[in-house]
Symmetry: C2
C-alpha cells in the first residue's frame, strides 16, 4: 500500500558513482601527499557521492532537534524528572542550550520539533508542532505506541526534513531531547543488534548503580512483553520506541531521498538510524556518524550501522551537540576538496616514482 513512507523509501538513490570518482581523482591532485588528510578525504568523497556534486559546497546546514516524552520514565530510569523535557524545549527556543551555542559556532540553524512532549507547549514561531501524542505509553507493560502512531512519527520526520530542504537546508544533523530516552534507545539497540540488554545499556544522564540495574530490568521486561521483530522497523519502534526516535528515523529517510547528507549525533540518534536502516537499508551510505558517546551501546550501534564515528569526546548530552561539531568537519572536508590548489596550479613537485 502506497504511503509517504513507502514512496520516500522507494526514491532513495545509490551514491553517485561519477561524483565519487571525480572527487577521488581530485583529492589525489591536491598539494599534499595522497591520503595524508585521512578521514577528511574519505568524508569529502562520501559527501560528493551523496550530493552527486564532484565538489560539494554547503550553504545551509540545519540541526533538527526532536523532543518527546516516555511513559517508561515513570519506572525511575532517569536521574531527571519528565518536566525537564518541555523546560529544555523552551531553553532551545530561547537560545540558551548547548545545541544553540554549538550550532551558532558552526553556522547551523536549529529546528526544534515537538514529536511527543507530554505537556502542552506554548506556540512559538520556531517550534514545529508534529506532536503524535502526549508521551509514549510505558513499554515495560505493553507497546509504547500503535503501529499507526509509529508510521505517523516517521512520516512526520520525513515531512519536517523535506520542508527544511525545500527552504534551502543542504546538510542535516539529528538531535534529541526526551527525559528517559536512553531507555527506549537501549531497547531498540538490543532488539535490532540482538545483543543482551546489559551490554547496550548505560547510565544516560547519570543514574546510580541501583538505577542502572532497574533500567536494565525494565528494558528486559519490555522486550519480553512486546517481542519486537528486529526485521520490522515499525514493529520495533511501536513496541519499545519513542516519538522523537521515530521522527529522527524519518529525518534520515527523508534526507537520503533528497540526496542530503545526515550527520547523526549520539545514542538516541543512533537508535533512530537503526530504525531508519531497518526500514530502508539504502539510507546507510547517507549517514555520517559524528561521534562515539559515553553510552556503552553506541559502539554496537555503529558496528551494526557499519559507520565509524569521526570523534570521541566523551559526550553524553544529545540535543545534536556532537552532530553539529561533525557538521564542521564535513564542511572542512569539502572545502579541502574544493579550495585547495592542485600540484599543477601551484607548481609543486609530485612524489618521486
Amino acid at each position: 500500500m502506497a504511503s509517504l513512507l513507502t514512496d520516500t523509501i522507494a526514491r532513495i538513490p545509490p551514491l553517485d558513482e561519477n561524483a565519487l570518482q571525480q572527487a577521488r581523482a581530485r583529492q589525489d591532485q591536491l598539494t599534499k601527499p595522497q591520503g595524508s588528510l585521512g578521514r577528511l578525504e574519505a568524508l569529502s568523497i562520501q559527501l560528493a557521492g551523496i550530493t552527486g556534486q564532484p565538489r560539494p559546497r554547503f550553504k545551509q546546514p540545519v540541526v533538527i532537534t526532536m523532543a518527546g516524552d516516555h511513559g517508561v520514565a515513570r519506572q525511575g530510569v532517569s536521574a531527571y524528572p519528565s518536566e525537564v523535557t518541555p523546560q529544555m524545549v523552551l531553553n532551545f527556543l530561547y537560545g540558551g542550550a548547548a545545541i544553540n551555542v554549538l550550532a551558532r559556532h558552526v553556522g547551523a540553524r536549529v529546528v526544534v520539533v515537538d514529536m511527543g512532549v507530554a505537556s502542552d507547549l506554548p506556540s512559538h514561531p520556531d517550534l514545529v508542532d508534529s506532536k503524535i501524542g502526549k508521551g509514549t505509553r510505558d513499554f515495560s507493560v505493553g507497546p509504547a505506541m500503535t503501529r499507526d502512531e509509529a508510521r505517523r512519527a516517521v512520516e512526520a520526520g520525513i515531512e519536517v526534513v523535506t520542508r527544511e530542504i525545500e527552504r534551502g537546508a543542504d546538510m542535516v544533523a539529528t538531535g534529541d531531547m526526551g527525559i528517559g530516552n536512553t531507555t527506549p534507545s537501549s531497547a531498540i539497540v538490543a532488539a535490532i543488534t540482538r545483543r543482551p540488554v546489559a551490554q547496550v545499556t548505560g547510565r544516560g544522564t547519570g543514574v546510580d548503580d541501583a538505577g542502572l540495574d532497574r533500567k536494565i530490568a525494565v528494558i528486559e521486561c519490555g522486550l519480553e512483553v512486546n517481542q519486537p521483530n528486529p526485521a520490522d522497523g515499525l514493529d520495533v519502534l511501536s513496541d519499545v520506541g519513542g516519538f522523537e526516535i521515530g521522527g529522527l528515523a524519518g529525518v534520515i529517510i527523508g534526507a537520503a531521498a533528497r540526496r542530503v547528507p545526515v550527520v547523526i549525533d549520539g545514542f538516541i540518534s543512533g537508535a533512530a538510524a537503526l530504525i531508519a536502516t531497518a526500514l530502508a537499508p539504502a539510507t546507510q551510505p547517507f549517514i555520517i556518524a559524528a561521534h562515539r558517546s559515553v553510552e556503552i551501546g553506541h559502539r554496537a550501534t555503529h558496528e551494526h550501522l557499519r559507520v565509524e564515528p569521526l570523534m570521541d569526546l566523551n559526550l553524553r548530552l544529545g540535543e545534536g551537540t556532537g552532530a553539529v561539531l561533525g557538521i564542521s568537519l564535513c564542511l572542512a572536508a569539502c572545502k579541502i576538496l574544493d579550495e585547495m590548489a592542485t600540484f599543477a596550479d601551484a607548481g609543486v613537485s609530485e612524489k618521486s616514482a
Copy 2:
C-alpha cells in the same frame, strides 16, 4: 647566564587556580547534566586556567607554520624531493595549501616562518624571515646544528610568537613544513622518550618498506654518532633536530610565558613539544594536543607529554592542519562555558537528589 630563552622560561606561570575553580563551578550550573559535554568541559576549564579568565573568549587564533630543510633528507628518507619545501612555502603564501583552507574555515590567521629553508625565498609581506641556516646538516654523520644555532632557533620562535601576541593573537596553533622532517622528529622522540627507534618511526609522507628500513637505520646511526642527552633539550635539538622544530619549541615556550594556549598539531609539533617540555616542564599545562596522527611515534609522544589528543582522523600532513581543527574545538568549548544558560537563568529543574 641570562638570555631570552632563560628569561622567558622563568616567566612561565602555573595555571590560575581561581579561574580553574570558577570555570568548573560554572560548568556545573549550565543547563545540561554535569559532565555530559565530556572533553569539551575539561578543555574549557583548562583554557580558563591557562588564560586566567573564568570565561575565556578568543578573538584572534593564529597558526604559526614554520618551515625548514634537513641535511638528512639526502639519505633518501622521504618520498618527496627537498625542493618541495620552498614550493609549499609559496603555496602557503598564495593561500592554496590545506592549512590555508582549514585556517579560513575556523577563522584563524596563518603566519608562515622561514626557519631554515635550504634555498632563498622571495621576500613577501606575509613571510617571516627567521632563517637560522640553509637547512640543517646531515645528523646521521654529526650534529644537525651547533648548540648556538639550536638556542637561536628556539629564541626565534619565542620572538615570532611574542610579536603575534602583541598584535592580538590570543590562541596559537603550531604547524610545520619540511621535507624529511619526520626523520629528525623520530630521532627526538626516540631520544627523549628512550624508546627503540623502530617503535617511533613511521612512513612520513609515504616511503616504501625499503625506505622505512633506511630511515630507521639512519636515525639509529645519528643517535649513535651524536649521543644526545635526553635531559638537555638544546642538546637533543642540536644533535638531531631541525630549525623549524626548534622554532616551534620556542613558540610553545613563548606562548606559555604569556598565558596563551598552544594547540599542537601532528608528529613534528609533538617533537617540538618534547623539546619545549625538556627545556621548560612548566609549559606542559599550556599544551593542547589536537589530534593523534598516523605516525606511530605520536602515541609515545603524547604519553610522554601527558596529553590526550582531542581527535584521531588519520591525518599525516602537518602544516598545522589538525591543530586548526583543534582550535575550533577550543573555541566551541569556551563558547559553551560563556554562552549557555544556567539552570537558574532558564528555569530548568536540576537532577533529583
